[in-house]
């Protein structure tokens, strides 16, 4: 079993790489973060007897993708599964961001995902599985996360249609729609700022990575982890979209203010200690 994973150097992608390695699959990992790619490769090779290729690639850069494809063809690789994990979220109100930050969301989450999916589909074995990572956010209109939620909605609908198109070619497409995933300390802070519901809608990383592969192999088409998240989704379908948008806006305003507030405070502390400004991050103090 050969698996291609994007966004593999951190967060969900890394957890998925661990899960695949544990199952004994051979994996090709790609990410733009070379240092962490090398580290995860070392970590996995120390534990599992599998083949791992790492390819550093910025999926939004056409030349990078061309080089990646050339490398795959040179190695004469064909794949049985593809996990589209790479994605970004520059959270915040539309007009509070630089345009590039907004544009990048669409470039990475939508354009780059389509491009790499197209190329890998041309290098597939039969049967083939694809996983797209959408989000619980794809189910709601989300003020203050408007572009992100819409980009995830794009993937949600696209995946569903693609699955139908390719059904007869024995390609099955699964869309994963997680709530929060506590992948690093910063995310934990953000979850904490959202209070009870933040924690309640957060999914367990170890469970999500395991079940996603299970469900993909079984031929499922969507996976919403967590009971509460499913309730939200069903409830949401009963309410008018305008009302949902208003409700969500009210909630985000509160939790973002709290989150920004705690972060700004620690930033303010940094400024108060003048020596910090010239500090080498990993140097002696």
């Amino acid at each position: 079993m050969n698996v291609f994973i994007t966004g593999a150097a951190g967060g969900l992608g890394r957890a998925m790489a661990v899960e695949c390695a544990k199952r004994g699959y051979n994996i090709v990992l790609t990410d733009c973060d070379e240092i962490h790619l090398v580290q995860i490769k070392n970590g996995l090779l120390r534990q599992y007897d599998i083949n791992i290729e790492i390819i550093v690639c910025d999926l939004t850069n056409k030349e990078d993708v061309d080089t990646l494809i050339k490398k795959i063809d040179f190695l004469n690789l064909k794949f049985d599964m593809m996990l589209n994990i790479a994605g970004i979220d520059n959270e915040g109100a539309f007009m509070s961001r630089k345009y590039d930050q907004i544009g990048d969301i669409v470039k990475v989450n939508v354009e780059a995902t389509l491009h790499i999916t197209y190329e890998i589909l041309n290098r597939r074995n039969t049967p083939f599985n694809i996983v797209f990572v959408s989000s619980l956010a794809s189910q709601f209109p989300m003020p203050l996360k408007a572009t992100y939620a819409a980009s995830k909605r794009f993937l949600f609908d696209f995946a569903l249609s693609l699955g139908v198109e390719l059904k007869e070619s024995k390609v099955s497409v699964l869309t994963l729609c997680p709530g929060g995933l506590a992948t690093n300390p910063t995310v934990i802070e953000a979850i904490d700022a959202q209070g009870f519901f933040g924690k309640a809608t957060t999914n367990r990383l170890e469970i999500v990575s395991r079940k996603t592969i299970q469900k993909a192999l079984r031929g499922d088409t969507v996976y919403f982890p967590g009971v509460l998240n499913n309730l939200f989704r069903i409830f949401n379908n009963l309410l008018p979209r305008q009302m949902v948008a208003n409700l969500i806006h009210r909630r985000w305003v509160k939790s973002q203010a709290k989150w920004l507030n705690t972060n700004n405070q620690s930033m303010a502390n940094m400024v108060k200690t003048p020596i910090t400004q010239n500090l080498e991050t990993k140097g002696v103090i």
Binding site: R14, A15, A17, V18, E19, A21, K22, I35, H36, Q39, I40, N42, G43, L44, R46, Q47, A182, T183, N184, P185, I188, I191, D192, F196, G198, K199, T202, R204, L205, E206, I207, R210, S266, N269, M270, T273, I275, T276, L279, T281, K282, G283, V284, I285
Partner: protein
Amino acid sequence: MKNQTDKLVIVTGSTSGIGFAIVLKLLESGYSVIGVGSKAESCQNAKIKITAQNPTAPVVFYNANLANQQEIYALAHNIKEYLTLNPNLKLHCLINNAGGVRDWYMTTSEGYEYQFALNHLSGFLLTYLMVPLLKDGIVIFTASSSHKHTRIHWQDIMFQKWYFVLSAYKQSKLCNVMTVKELNKRGIKAFAVDPGLVKTDIGNKGMTGITRWFWNIHKKSGTDPEIPAQTYVYLCNRPKSLGLYYYNSKIASYNKEVDKDSETMRLFALSEKLCGISYKERISS
């Protein structure tokens, strides 16, 4: 105060809690100290707190995220450089105190479970890297009495099936005591210290909701960090002490699992593999 500033002690996780108290006690007893903290800002603050009282205190702080093995290598490099620049200093003791709890399953850069990597592997690897400098020096690990109520979960050592914060914590602390046992077999004098229940923020960092609330209540019945810090200084002053596991400067009893050679040797071998190192080669060279 005895003048023993030529004796250098390294304390990891030393910008708050028990680690910070250890640094203060060591300086009081006349040792030179290298502190290690995960955030540049907290290193800065710790240094300021100390030099405000005593501007010439022989202490420096290094900033390193010990959950990331590359940063452990960088730290070891910095320490070696520091010792080369200060040839009058001799490494007397390494205190592997850094540790933490995480509510959620998280992976490190190498794809290992976070608590296993931070609480166990980091000290394991740093000790290995310090072996050439230690000579007659000693190593101390911060363990916990909670290690007594568990065993090594060989079938799923990284808790990928179902992660529970306390199970992972207890196991990581058992790993500390087992490491101490195996290091002594290899001629490296090592101790484990049970600090008891201490009023620190360990249960507040990286935690959310109920667990944090529980810790806030639980820690009220704990001691101040100065109490356990005495045990560490006691061992630094008497590096030839005979025990393996200490509580309140006295030998205490530990988990019987630690006396099972098959268990400790298996853990040691696995840890070497996960760090990509071999103690045997280093000690013989």
